[in-house]
């Protein structure tokens, strides 16, 4: 008996090997990691000249950052006493001594790759209907990427990181009303005493102190390793899911789309209804494959309304 016929194998992969059309559809539909993909794609969506693969790269860099970041967390202690020494030891003593390098360069690369992804999306007009909202989610992911990089910048606890974060976080004291040097902050006063001072303003909330110090290191560590990654992971899920729901990778409208215009309204509950249909038909064997092909342009046509 071969492995593929064993009960264990069958319990994990609920269909035969993806060597025929039916099972190539099934492998996408029945795997939680693969099902963020549609079953079929237009060829132009695969051309490197069109997408530059920057979205994929950004996602992959997030994975690399997560893996190397977790490994670094086993070693690094976010305290004034140990942070710098741990980074030194990571370079000079620890096995796999390039972990920090991979983490840092991947972080720089991620910022650049996210910009290039947005650049491509703009140049191809891919933020236009029906993808307006996903562009906004993308902008939030840009902010998350920058904040992840900024909070991580502090952790080596050397002169470079400490003063870069000092310069950056000084801006928080300039927030209108809530920063101790921001416009109008004296308007918030109780009984002649300023409510907003250097020990109680937006910058203090960010740093946990009047200047970058022990408390800041702890705050930025938690923001960097837990809080922002969680937010980013949720946003990434929404982003990828919406790429699919908004009609997959953008492309030029097809001729004769006008003719299908009525199809839009008919597909009132469009995407969802179709998805159920897809799964139902997927099980239906060969017919499912054809059905999917016929509906290739479906999500786009129905996605708008």
């Amino acid at each position: 008996m071969s492995l593929r016929d064993s009960q264990i194998w069958k319990s994990i992969f609920r269909h035969p090997a993806p060597v025929d059309r039916r099972n190539r559809v099934m492998v996408i539909l029945s795997n939680v990691f693969l099902h963020v993909h549609p079953v079929v794609l237009k060829k132009h969506a695969l051309r490197p000249a069109y997408t530059w693969y920057m979205g994929l790269l950004a996602f992959w860099l997030f994975v690399v950052e997560t893996v190397t970041g977790v490994l670094l967390m086993f070693y690094y202690r976010p305290t004034v006493e140990w942070a710098y020494n741990d980074i030194l030891a990571l370079r000079d003593v620890a096995s796999l001594g390039v972990l920090r390098e991979v983490h840092r360069w991947a972080a720089h690369a991620m910022v650049i790759v996210v910009w290039l992804h947005m650049y491509r999306v703009f140049l191809t007009g891919s933020y236009k209907p029906p993808r307006e909202f996903n562009w906004c989610v993308g902008v939030m992911l840009l902010v998350a990427t920058l904040l992840l990089s900024f909070t991580g910048y502090l952790l080596p606890w050397d002169q470079l990181s400490m003063w870069a974060v000092t310069v950056g976080s000084n801006m928080a004291s300039a927030v209108p009303l809530l920063g101790s040097e921001g416009p109008g902050h004296q308007m918030l006063s109780a009984g002649g005493v300023d409510v907003i001072a250097s020990g109680s303003d937006a910058r203090y909330a960010l740093l946990g102190a009047r200047a970058v110090g022990e408390e800041t290191l702890n705050r930025f560590y938690i923001l960097h390793c837990v809080a922002i990654p969680l937010v980013a992971a949720v946003l990434i899920s929404v982003h990828l899911w919406r790429v699919r729901k908004d009609g997959s990778i953008s492309g030029p409208e097809e001729e004769g789309r006008e003719a299908r215009g009525e199809g839009r309204e008919a597909g009132g509950e469009g995407p969802e209804a179709r998805d159920e249909g897809r799964e139902a038909r997927g099980e239906g064997g060969d017919a499912g494959g054809e059905g999917l092909e016929a509906r290739g342009e479906g999500p786009e046509a129905g996605g708008r309304w």
């Binding site: 996408i28 069109y50 980074i87 390039v98 390098e101 840092r104 002169q159 030029p252």
Partner: protein
């Protein structure tokens, strides 16, 4: 030569050798590519150029990299300042846009790439240039400049091609690839290969270049200059022209909100899902002005050209901590009351209560407040009734208001820069009583 720069040259020479060798190999590849298409003249040109680079590689590996002549470096540094650099770069972008059909021709683009790479190589043999550009954290930014250049070319090339086709009544290139492929295996394997390649690049990069680590953090020793992480250096550069609450809080917030607003303000249905410039000229130019012309340009200035005391330094200039920028700027109120009218600045007294104080401040700052009102209220109002009548009607009041606010703010950046450079204006509205500067 300075002994210090001699030591630096010895370490960079080895790198430079391999850099020239790589560029030579690229040109050899280009020569082969041209020869296979029977473009013999081009093949000969790239071969000769590649041979020259190979010689440069040889000399560099032997410890004698080719150098730029000192008078050239001196002239560059003398010419370069915040004004000439910003204006020059924006001018180059504009020229690039106008000549895009010609610049995207592969041979032209290849020549420009070669020129920039050779300039980079020659400049890296300068100790001052290398000290800034070859800093570990700045290496990714150099890579970003080339990636941006490459992808701007790639996007423009396709847009030019599509615009030609669209003008002839054909569909864009993207429409030629309508065939469908199953995601398994084609897409999954592409993703796998892409992920592996990216990881390999990262590991090689990490083995070749150590992550920076300076002295332990010390609150008592302030570095000069203290710089934010590189992606925020555009904002730090804005601090030269704007008060912190604008440069560090309001403008970044408007950038984020403005980016999110793009799909709701751009009602042009054309150019969705393919590269084009002709079908969405306004959106394209606005984005390129904001992205390449402001965001990226300001980052480059902040990273490579600002030194101690945030003074401006040329590419080949020593970063001398004694160099102080002459920054005696005056507010618009002073320019109006004192310089123009020859009177004293109206007095503000806090003893008569807040309302009186605010009234006095308003009178003192009347010229600035009037200028802001004209710029942000009267100008859009006037435009909605004249030049932009159609646009205003199409967008409706709210969206038109948001669009003009964003566009005018974006335009305010270069306007304020020009005012600082020419009349040394500090703030349009200057109310130190309430920490309000504009």
């Amino acid at each position: 030569m300075h002994p210090e720069s001699h030591a630096l040259l010895a370490t960079t020479a080895w790198w430079l050798g391999w850099f020239y060798a790589a560029v030579a190999a690229l040109n050899a590849g280009a020569a082969v590519w041209a020869a296979r298409r029977h473009a013999w003249l081009r093949a000969a040109a790239w071969s000769a150029w590649g041979a020259g680079l190979a010689a440069a590689a040889w000399f560099s590996l032997a410890g004698h990299p080719p150098q730029l002549p000192e008078p050239f470096k001196q002239a560059c540094d003398d010419l370069l300042g915040p004004v000439t650099f910003t204006a020059g770069a924006l001018g180059l972008l504009a020229v690039g846009y106008v000549l895009r059909r010609w610049l995207v021709v592969p041979a032209v683009a290849w020549l420009l790439l070669n020129v920039s790479l050779v300039w980079l190589g020659l400049s890296l043999s300068d100790a001052h240039f290398a000290a800034i550009v070859a800093r570990p954290d700045n290496v990714p930014i150099v890579a970003m400049v080339y990636l941006l250049g490459f992808f701007t070319w790639a996007g423009t090339y396709q847009a030019v091609e599509n615009d030609r086709r669209l003008a002839r009544g054909q569909g864009p290139v993207e429409a030629d690839y309508r065939d469908e492929v199953l995601v398994w295996p084609d897409v999954i394997y592409l993703e796998l290969i892409g992920a592996i390649l990216a990881t390999v690049v990262l590991i090689v990069w990490s083995l070749l270049l150590r992550a920076p680590l300076e002295q332990p953090a010390n609150p008592a020793v302030t570095p000069n200059p203290a710089k934010a992480p590189w992606y925020f250096l555009g904002l730090q550069e804005l601090l030269v022209y704007f008060p912190p609450w604008l440069a560090g809080v309001i403008l970044p917030a408007l950038m984020i909100l403005g980016l999110m607003a793009i799909p709701y303000l751009d009602f042009n249905p054309r150019g969705n899902g393919y590269y084009t410039i002709a079908q969405r000229r306004f959106a394209y130019l606005t984005f390129q002005f904001g992205f390449l012309g402001l965001w990226v340009l300001l980052i480059l200035i902040g990273t490579f050209l600002r030194g101690p005391n945030w003074s401006f330094f040329g590419f080949y200039e020593a970063h001398d901590a004694q160099k102080m920028a002459d920054m005696t700027n005056v507010s618009l109120a002073e320019l109006f009351w004192v310089t123009a009218l020859g009177r004293e600045l109206p007095q503000v007294t806090a003893s008569h209560g807040m309302l009186v104080e605010l009234g006095q401040i308003a009178w003192r700052e009347a010229p600035g407040l009037a200028a802001l009102g004209l710029y942000y209220v009267a100008l859009p109002w006037l435009l909605a009734r004249t030049l932009l009548q159609g646009l205003a009607a199409k967008l409706g009041r709210t969206r038109y208001g948001v669009l003009t606010l964003l566009l005018l703010t974006m335009l305010a950046l270069p306007l304020k820069m020009i005012l600082v450079w020419t009349v040394h204006l500090s703030y349009v509205v200057n109310i130190p009583e309430y920490f309000f500067y504009f």
